[in-house]
C-alpha cells in the first residue's frame, strides 16, 4: 500500500530486488495515481496496482471532506487567524481544492480559485468563487493554499507581488507546490513566530509567512483527516488487498479501479454506521430504468 507512489518509485529504481514476490499493490493519493499511470503508460510498471484513490468512497470523501476540514484545521492551529473576511486563494480545484474552497467559504472567507483546466475553472466560477490567474490572485490574497499535485503553483513572480503579511500553506502533495527556494532567495531572513509559522522578511520589507515548511499543513500542524473519513479509505484498502490476494495472479501490470461492488459495499457499511437508511429500487422501478422502449 503506497501513498504518493514513493514506495513504487523506489521499488522500480533503487530496490528492484524487492520486486520479487510482489503480486500487487494499491495507491492512496491522486498524485500517486498520476505517477503510476505515467509508469504504466511507459510500459514499466511491474505489478498490478489498484487505484484506491479513485474509488468513489475514497476521493469523494477523503479528498473533499477530509482535506477540506483538516486543511483549515491545520492553518487555524498554526496561526489562529480569523477566516471571516479573509481572501483565500486556492490553487487547484480538484477534489481537494473544492473541499477546501467549500470549507473556507463556510468559515466566512472570500474565495479565489486558480486553475489550469477550463472545465474546473468554470465549475469554480459557477460555484460562486472568483476565478483568475495566479498572477492576479497573488496581489490580493491573504492566505494561499496550494492543492495542485504539481510544482510551483506559487512561484517566484507571485511571491514578489504578495501583500505584506500573506500566509502560504500547502495541502497538495509535496513541499514543491510553493517555490520555497525562490522564497528563501528573495528573503533577507526568517524567524519562527509561532510553531509551524516561519516569517520571511523580504528584501523590500514585506513579511510573508510560510506554514509547516510547505509540507502538508493538515499533517504538519493538525492531526490529518478525521477517522470518520479515513475509515472508508482504509476499508477500500483492506478490501482491495483481499481482492488482490485472490485475483492478482490473473491481472496484467496495469493500474486498476477498485471493483465497483467493493466501492458500493464500503458506502453501504458507512451509511449503516451512521444510522442512515436509504431506499432500494422496486422490481418495477428497476425494470423501467433498464428498458429503452418505455418512455413519454
Amino acid at each position: 500500500m503506497d501513498d504518493g507512489a514513493d514506495l513504487v518509485a523506489t521499488l522500480h529504481t533503487d530496490r528492484t530486488d524487492a520486486l520479487d514476490g510482489l503480486i500487487g499493490g494499491s495507491e492512496e493519493t491522486t498524485t500517486g495515481v498520476i505517477r503510476l499511470r505515467s509508469l504504466a503508460e511507459a510500459g514499466k510498471l511491474k505489478y498490478p496496482i489498484i487505484a484506491v484513490n479513485d474509488a468513489d468512497t475514497k476521493h469523494f470523501f477523503d479528498n473533499r471532506y477530509g482535506t477540506g476540514q483538516s486543511t483549515l484545521d491545520g492553518i487555524t492551529r498554526a496561526t489562529n487567524i480569523l477566516w471571516a473576511g479573509k481572501t483565500v486563494v486556492l490553487a487547484g480545484y480538484g477534489w481537494c481544492g473544492r473541499g477546501v474552497a467549500l470549507r473556507a467559504r463556510g468559515m466566512g472567507a472570500q474565495t479565489v480559485v486558480t486553475e489550469i483546466n477550463p472545465i474546473r475553472a468554470l465549475e469554480a466560477a459557477m460555484d460562486g468563487h472568483q476565478v483568475m490567474s495566479m498572477d492576479n490572485a497573488a496581489k490580493i490574497g491573504d492566505i494561499f493554499i496550494t492543492l495542485t499535485g504539481g510544482i510551483k503553483a506559487v512561484g517566484r513572480q507571485h511571491i514578489e507581488v504578495m501583500k505584506d503579511g500573506a500566509i502560504l500553506a500547502n495541502s497538495g502533495h509535496f513541499n514543491v507546490e510553493i517555490d520555497i527556494p525562490a522564497l528563501e532567495e528573495l528573503a533577507d531572513g526568517k524567524q519562527e513566530v509561532r510553531p509551524f509559522v516561519d516569517e520571511y522578511l523580504m528584501g523590500d520589507g514585506r513579511r510573508l509567512n510560510l506554514l509547516g515548511e510547505g509540507r502538508l499543513i493538515n499533517l504538519a500542524a493538525a492531526e490529518g483527516h478525521p477517522s470518520a473519513v479515513m475509515d472508508m479509505s482504509f476499508a477500500d484498502q483492506a478490501l482491495s488487498a483481499e481482492y488482490l490476494a485472490q485475483f492478482a495472479h490473473s491481472l496484467k501490470p496495469q493500474v486498476y479501479d477498485v471493483p465497483r461492488d467493493i466501492d458500493e459495499e464500503v458506502g453501504r457499511l458507512k451509511l449503516l454506521s451512521m444510522g442512515i437508511t436509504i431506499d432500494t429500487l422496486t422490481a418495477e422501478q428497476e425494470e423501467y430504468l433498464g428498458s429503452w422502449e418505455v418512455g413519454t
Copy 2:
C-alpha cells in the same frame, strides 16, 4: 439530436423506415443516455450516438446549475411560496438533484435527500443534507421534488402520509416520477387554485398540491434553463454534429462520449465569454506531472 431518447425509440420501433440515411445522432439528457445504453447493450442500436449529456461542459452545468435554478424558479412562479424555513424533500442526488438541493438550501430551506445509491446518499449526508428513506421523508416534507429519471419516486404509500398542504413537483424526466394515478385515486376531487397548481382534496381531508401535472416544472411554469447554461450544451451538440459528419462512417453503432478536445474547447470558449483568464502549465510543470521518477 434527441432529448430523452424518444425520437430514437420511435426510429427503432414505429419508424424504422426513417433509419435509412441516418449516419449518427446525439442525446441531451441523463435519462436518454440510460435508455440508449440499454438499447446498445441489447445489440439493437442502429447508428452511433454521442452522449452529449455526459460531456463535462453539459451535465456539470446544465444539469446542476441549470436545473438547480430553474426548478426553484418554476416552483416559485407556480406557487409564490417562501422557501426559507420549508422542508424540501429531493428524490435523487444525481447532478440535477444536487443542483436543486444546493439552490434550495441557498434559499433558506431545510433539505432532505432520498437515494437508492449508497455513495450518493453518503455525499448528500456529508454535504449537510438530511438523508432518509422516502417512507420517512414523506411525513415531514413541505415540498417534494423528484429528480430520479425513474418511476414512482413518490408512490401511493408516500402520498398517503404526506402533510396537509404539501406540494409535489417533478424536475426529473417524465410525469411518471410521481404516481399521479395513485394521487387521483386517493383524492375525492381537485381544483386548479393557481395556474400550474392542482389542489387535490384527499379522502381524509388533506389537500395536496400537484404542480404542472407532474411534468418538468421548470418547463411547465418557468422558462427552462437560462441561455447562459444552454449555450454550452448547444455548443457541445453543434460540435458533436460536426464531428459525426466527419467521422460517423468509421464508428460502430454504440454510445460515444463527446471527444475530450471538444469538451475542453467549449469550456475555454465559455470562460472567454465570461472574461475569465486562467493559468496554463509551464513546460517545467507539465514535465513534473508526466513523470513517475520525480517525487519526495
Copy 3:
C-alpha cells in the same frame, strides 16, 4: 397604514384638512420610518405612529427573507439570467441588502457589497462578501441591485464605467436609487428587449439593461413577497391598529415601537402555524437569568 410615509407626507402638506379625527397610524417600511423620525424630530408630526417596520417579526423576516427571495425572483423573471458565476453588486447592507446578498450567494453568484456605514461594511466582509466603493464595484458588476433607501446609489460616474451588458435593478424604495436621468442622458436610445427590460444603447457602444424602469423589481416583475412572510407583517399591522384604537388617546405624536408582547405573540403564532415547538424556561432557569448574585 402607510407604506413609505407618502400618505403621511400628503396628510402633513396638501391635505392637512384630513388630519381631523385621525388618532394614530402605522408604517410598513424602513424608508418610511426614517422619514417619520425626521418629521417627529422637526416637531411636526401630528399623530402617534407605530413603526411596524421595526418589529422583529416584520423587518427580520419581510425585509430579509421576503426581499431576499422576491428580488431575485423579479430579476430572474425579467431576464432569465443564470445567477451562478455572475458578479452581483449590492448597494446597501441593511436588512434588505443582507437578505438579497444571502440569496444571491445561495444561487451561486459572487457578491460585492457597497456601504456607507463602517459597521455594516465590516459585517458584509466577515459574512464573506467582497466590500468596496461603488466606484470600483461599478467596473466589475454583472448585475447591480440598489437597496439603500436613498438616492443615486448608482450614479452617473458609475454608469459611465459599467461593463457592456450590465443589468441594473432597484429593490430599495423609489426609482431614485439609480440615477435614471443620467442614464437617459448618456444613452443614444433604448429598446424594450423583454418585458421589464429596457436596453439602453450608450454613446460609447455599451448596452446597459434597466429593469422595471428602476421601480421595485419584486413588485414590477414578480409577485412581491410570498404570503408566508407578509402574514407576519400584516399581523403586526392588525394588532398595532387594535392597540392604537385602545391607547392612541394617551400617546403623544411620536414614532413608537410595536409593543413587545404583540411582536412576540406574532412570532408564537407563526411558529404554531409551521408546526414548530420550542422550549420554555423552567422556573429554575428563569431565576438564574434574573439573578446577579449567582455566577461562576
Copy 4:
C-alpha cells in the same frame, strides 16, 4: 473591566471595601450585561458601567464570528471529529449561537437549533436550521453545544435519551449549561479518552463524551478568539475606559451603551486595517435621507 460580571458581583458583596475610588467599569459579555442590568434594576449598582458587549463592533463580531469559529476549533482539537454529516444541536440562537450554527453548517453539518424565544426560533428556521424542543433534539444529536447563558440547557431528561457516542460541549458562559451533576449521577464511571474528552459510561451502556469539563470549549481546548476579532473588542474597551475617565463623574450608576461615535470609529479603524474602502454619503444623499417632504 469585567468578563461575566464576576468581579462586579464580588465588589458588591464580599469586597464592598474596594468600591472606594472606583469611578466606572465596563463589561465584556452578554451574560455579564444581563447580570448587571438585574443589579441596576434592583437599585444596587454602585458605579456606572459601559456594556462593551453591546457595542456593534463587539457583539456582531466577537460573539458571532469569533465564537462561531473558535467553538468549532475547540471541539475539533478535542475530538478530531469530522463535522460533515454530523447532526449538531445548538442550544440558543443568540449572537453566539447563530455564529456557531453558521460555521457548523459551513463545515457540512446538519444543524438543529433549540430556543426559548419565538422570534429567534423563527429566524433559525428561516435561516435553514431545524428547530425543535431539546426533548426531541436530544434523541438525534451527534454533538450538543450550549450557548444560552443560562443553566441546564442540557438537563437530566436530555442526557437520558441521547445516542451512544454523543458529544457534549459548552460555549456559553459557565459549566452550568450542561447538567454535569446529573451526568455524573447517571453514569457508572468515566475515563479521559483524549485530552479534554471525558467519556462517561452510562448505567444503560451508552457512552457520552463531555468536553473540557463543560467549561468554555474554545478556551479549554483551543486558543479562544482570533486576535482579528479581539482587536475590536479591546479597542471598544480602551476607548470606553478613556471615556469613563473623562465623563464618569457625571454619570449615574447605571448600565450604559458604548457611545455611538466610539463604536463607529472602531469600525472605521478595522476597515482601514483590512484595506477596505467604503462610500460616503454625498451632501445631496444626506439631505434626501434627512428629509420627510421628498418622496415618491
